[in-house]
Amino acid sequence: MPNEGYTMVTHEKPFRYLSGDLKVTRGASWSGPGCHDGCGVLLYTNAEDKLVRVEGDPENPYNQGRLCVRCLALTEAVNHPDRLRYPMKRDPKKRGTEAFERITWSEAYDFIEEKLRYYKDNFGAESVVFWRGTGRDIATYISRFAWSYGSPNLTSGINGIACYAPRVFGCASTSGSFWVGDYSQQFADRYENPQWKPPGTIAIWGNNPLISNSDGLYGHWIIDCMKRGSHLLVVDPKCTWLAAKSALWLQIRPGTDAALAMGLANYMIQEEIYDKEFVDLWCYGFDEFSERVSPYTLEKTSEITWIPPEKIVQAARMIAASDGFALQWGVAVDQTTEALPACQALSALIMITGNLDNPGGMIKPPELLNYLGGWGQEFLPQEQEEKRLGIDKYSFYRTGVVSAAALTVLEAIEKGEPYPMKAAWIQTTDIITGTGPDPQRAKEAFEKLEFIVGVDLFMTATMMALADVLLPAATYPERNGIRVGDGCQRGETINQAADPGECKADMEILLEMGRRFNPEAWPWETVEDMYSYILTDSGLSFAEMQEAAPVFLPYEYHKYKTGKLRRDGQVGFNTLTGRVELYSTMYSRLGLDPLPEFYEPTPSPYSTPELYEEYPLIIITGARDWMYFHSENRRQEHLRALRPEPVVEMHPDTAKKYGLTEGEWVWLEGHRGRAKRIVSLNLGLDPRVVSTSHGWSHPEAGPERLYDTRELNINSLIAWEDMSKIGVGANYKVMLCKIYKVTA
């Protein structure tokens, strides 16, 4: 039995059982391939331990039997003939060619160990950078490996840590915790839980949560809540399906979210419709905050955001009158150049309306492991921590941010300053296809390194261009694991069902390499022992958790009233003042602006009018397709068939103006680069704005063409320098472009 306060669901069967001729393994999904969620799945395997079918687990309260197309078509990834199946090695002089040779695992481990020892002994462990993709399974273990090896240079490769982290660190700095919308996900009995009620209003702001999946949110919970009475306020430049179904849709000018939030706050304050009692009792710095937002009158806010004043009024009144207000915000806020003051502006809306720690408002996600903070930083010597790239430049990186600044790492590789960079460990991330800005610059920088280890499921553009040793990772149905990720955590196990062949789990590779360098940090015989250690607080071992999962963590509302948010047991929030800080004392101490602020995007029609003459359209990137998670899934044929090529969506008037028709290939060109797309008409966009998705490659184009990423990667329009001056935030979303037909 788990420790007191933990709750379980009833299972009819053990976690492994037979169904006809097939074996069924119950467990959680994660990655790879995968996403940020951890849906309950039933994995069906045949007598040869081959994955033949995936079903949603109806007993798991998380997804309640439902699955999206990516896990439904999972067999096409796991069993794909292009999977990397054994370790390989290539002469660094032959990078970019198919000159890989098969080696054994022990040869691979020995060779990597020898090389990494050489760089550590001769140039310092900081000369090796550890580069991972967006946080999923891998995040926890690679952080421990980097730090126990001795390198402080670990990065997710996203410029300006501009995904999830700005919102998390922004909230933690000002209110002592991150907060997520309350959809009852913390309770085993979900919507039936008597303490819970659906949010009166859910603001869908800067994300399309039905498809995307951050903050531990299973997107269709929004639908579940709508059926139970929640109303939507949608802030999006495009008429998404949720926008069409909303009570109010604000078609915002891309990148002006902070201005809208400040305008809403100002209106609520002027009209005195905010939660006065909560502000009086629990907020700090209300007067300074009121003064800061006071210039954001309806007229000014409307002028900046392109939203009519009467709709801003409607939105402010809707939020203020709502019985429970959940802010479902996303990367569009993180991916602005100055994300921290933007996050502060948005989060102020939940603060001045008292929607913290309350049913149907915003809740503090219970955790088994502080996943964003990494695992095992105590193994990084202090003198090595001081060498973390970016820490001198960005004071905020000393307050809980554990990663190096990706741009500073890139510059160190390019210039050899402040010290030479020699090697990289790139694990399950596709830098050239995916989420880094200016992929050509990243590729050229990495090419300067003497030694690169890659770990992935498939050959990718990044691995083809850069890896000297390439290790094949197991997919999630081929290995054991635990799901301790973003949002509300549960005790969830990922259970091996299929035969991995020679592939190994990411965690097993890191455990094996980790103990070669620092056995104290890696005392476990097996990965399962390691998982048991992480699960200690639950009172269950990994093997026990496999049977019991999902196990829900203790949870209660209104902890700020009972002293349970603070270590010292005092009532209030976990900040210096004990209050929610509308004026941040932490930012003030760090020499940062203590109050929210709006910064005009660069480039934009107003900040760069000359550029706007040549590039007359605003382009927003990162629109989500149902079939794809970032750079993944293009090899799964049933998914690819649903969206064979990347599209750029535009209003029919825009297409007409530039002589374009639905279905034709065009170049989208900005002042830094261009990418190819197919025209798709959409009445739900402002004619001044076009929208496209990211992460595209053509697997069929072959590795030596780098899967056509040179012409498909939309991040060619984005520069590494488009980032925050305080290191938090980067403009991935809002560029200017012109559009013309592809000829020949």
């Binding site: 039933l42 079903e55 699955l67 067999t75 269709h220 399906w241 069409a244 179904k245 149902w626 009445l683």
Partner: protein, 112 residues
């Protein structure tokens, strides 16, 4: 007895799970569907109103997943529908459900 699907199109988000669930479990190649989604919109009308409606249609290739062993006993599309807007059952039973909420679609699929 005649079987049918009741489609509460108010909630269909267009996620394609029904299509892919069906294709994978029945080994249909890409391009063949036991259930296929139609996407209507988005287009604006009147003041600030939008049509954006998704409707799954069941084709003659639908087998209702007869004989398939699953955790729920439901057709694969119904079990995985993310918006929980599909119901499978006896035609006359579903007709009663439709009376309770008329703005749905009821598609009979005969005896399968």
């Amino acid at each position: 007895m005649s079987k049918a699907f009741l489609i509460d199109y108010e909630w269909c988000t267009g996620c394609h799970s029904c299509e892919v669930a069906c294709q994978m479990v029945n080994d249909f190649p890409p391009g063949q569907f036991g259930v296929k989604l139609s996407i209507l919109g988005p287009w604006p009308y009147e003041d600030d109103k939008w049509i954006f409606t998704n409707v799954p249609f069941f084709t003659e290739q639908c087998t209702c997943c007869a004989g398939l062993e699953t955790a729920t006993g439901q057709p694969y599309c119904v079990a995985h529908c993310q918006a929980k807007c599909l119901v499978f059952g006896e035609l006359d039973e579903l007709q009663k459900q439709m009376t309770a909420k008329p703005s749905q679609l009821l598609q009979g699929v005969g005896q399968r």
